[in-house]
Amino acid sequence: MKCDKIRELLSLYIDNMLDESERKAVEDHLSTCDVCRNEYNGIKETVDLLRQVEMIPVPDAFRFNLKKALQEEKQNMSGPQIVGIDPKKKIRWRVITSAAAVLVVGVLSFGFYRDILGSLPSQLSQVEQTGDAKEKDSYSVMREENAAVPEAQPSGLQPMAKETERAAASTQQDDSVNAQKKQAAVSDEAADAKTAAGEAAGNSQMVTFDAAASPDPNIGAESSALDVQIEAGDDSRSQAASGVERNAAVVQYYDMLIKEKLKGFDYQLLGYSYVPTGEWQFRVFIFRGKDGNTYNEEILVIGKEGKITTVSSNKFTELFNYEDDNH
């Protein structure tokens, strides 16, 4: 091999990146060629010098400052700048939940349930919202302690959540299906009874998906070149609102995937939220698995880019393994 070719391979030789034949060729050449051997020694020495440059430890204060900055970031992210809402014309969707509304919708839904018992699909209808869909703080939405805070709940939701949770709490496994149906009944009728409940509640508004913001198409497009485009001032949250219908369709779509995946399971959707950078998160309570075992445990289903993944404890790993062909 000629010297200029060898010269090109010296670094690779030093880094052990050559295949056997190339390596041998270089070694053979170096043993006979002084010029190239000097070059090799020179590079080797340079590399050795560089390798001695030491790592500097991160100052302790950094972790503390980072913690603070992360908490601030969380605050910023969970504020009312939700994807889908133009901050300039922020829609006032805060709803005051009154006890009357709870009672009325509870009564209404119970009545409807009686009428519709047995004929409802367990699939949630498009306005399936539970009290946990709290948009204000999409990160902490999944935390139980926030379920109690009724702030910014559409009036129809809170009572449904209570219905749901009461149903979940009091229900035994054989009742879970009924509870599910009840919820479905409530949800189905909530769509129709929205106005009624709203009026009954008086000073409350029925708000649907404005608060559950629409997926931001730009985030998806961004993500492949994210690291190039990320800048300090990047604010991908203020995108055009897409409206209620698209959100409803998305949730319905993921709900359908969940239903498919959880075929044979006794489960209940407890709530969902949208995280402003592209994921829908669904809290699902599993009463009983398709294997017949009781679980009574909550799992998380993440809907993203048209696919769902489950986040759950190890108990469920076996049960969910079949789903990998969905991905």
């Binding site: 991160v58 995280v275 998380l300």
Partner: protein, 196 residues
């Protein structure tokens, strides 16, 4: 190894849901390397800390765009590298007054180089050598300096570099070789200058 991976996945999931302490645990493994990457780009520790924090916040903010079939740490380093390059571009018109390796007349190290054990002479010599090689490194163009730093100072593999810099392995190979040859030339020049 696989349990590390699954632990990492769990942390990622929790962090995606907004759990900062999971995020902190997650990022802890990358922290030192990321910091040193920033230090070498920005040449002073304060700027490096700023860049590091900015990068980590970006990562936290955009965790959902992380594709879980790729490596988390190289994704982190990529973002740190890009943040540093952005900062450098922004400051390119300003004179960099904080450069630790100034001219021969005013060599002031603003980076505390940790002392390993050894006699004072050994420690001193090591510092001298480090300063010297770094000052030669600074004479390369940014692309050359960047790739040698990643390879020989930070110890990243060719594959990792290709992911971090988002270029092909072929490019990495030729860049590394050319840059080392160039650095070698500079070293030789400098030695000749010194020895005169």
């Amino acid at each position: 190894m696989s349990s590390d991976l699954s632990r990492e996945k769990q942390l990622i999931q929790k962090a995606k849901m907004g759990d900062e302490s999971s995020f902190e645990s997650l990022i802890l493994g990358c922290q030192n390397r990321a910091y040193n990457i920033a230090v070498r780009y920005l040449k002073n520790e304060d700027d490096a800390l700023d860049a590091l924090q900015e990068s980590f916040i970006k990562i936290f903010r955009h965790l959902n765009s992380f594709k879980e079939d790729s490596r988390f740490d190289t994704w982190v380093y990529r973002i740190v590298v890009n943040t540093c390059n952005d900062l450098l571009r922004k400051n390119s018109n300003q004179k960099i007054t904080d450069s630790i390796y100034k001219t021969e007349d005013e060599k002031v190290a603003t980076i505390e180089i940790p002392d390993r054990s050894g006699s004072p002479e050994e420690v001193f010599e090591r510092k001298e050598r480090t300063e010297h090689i770094i000052s030669c490194l600074e004479k390369l163009n940014p692309d050359q300096k960047e790739i040698i730093t990643l390879r020989d100072i930070h110890g990243f593999s060719y594959d990792e570099i290709s992911e971090i810099l988002e270029c092909s392995i072929g490019t990495v190979k030729s860049r590394i070789n050319r840059s080392r040859l160039k650095l070698r030339e500079i070293l030789v020049e400098q030695n000749e200058i010194h020895n005169v």
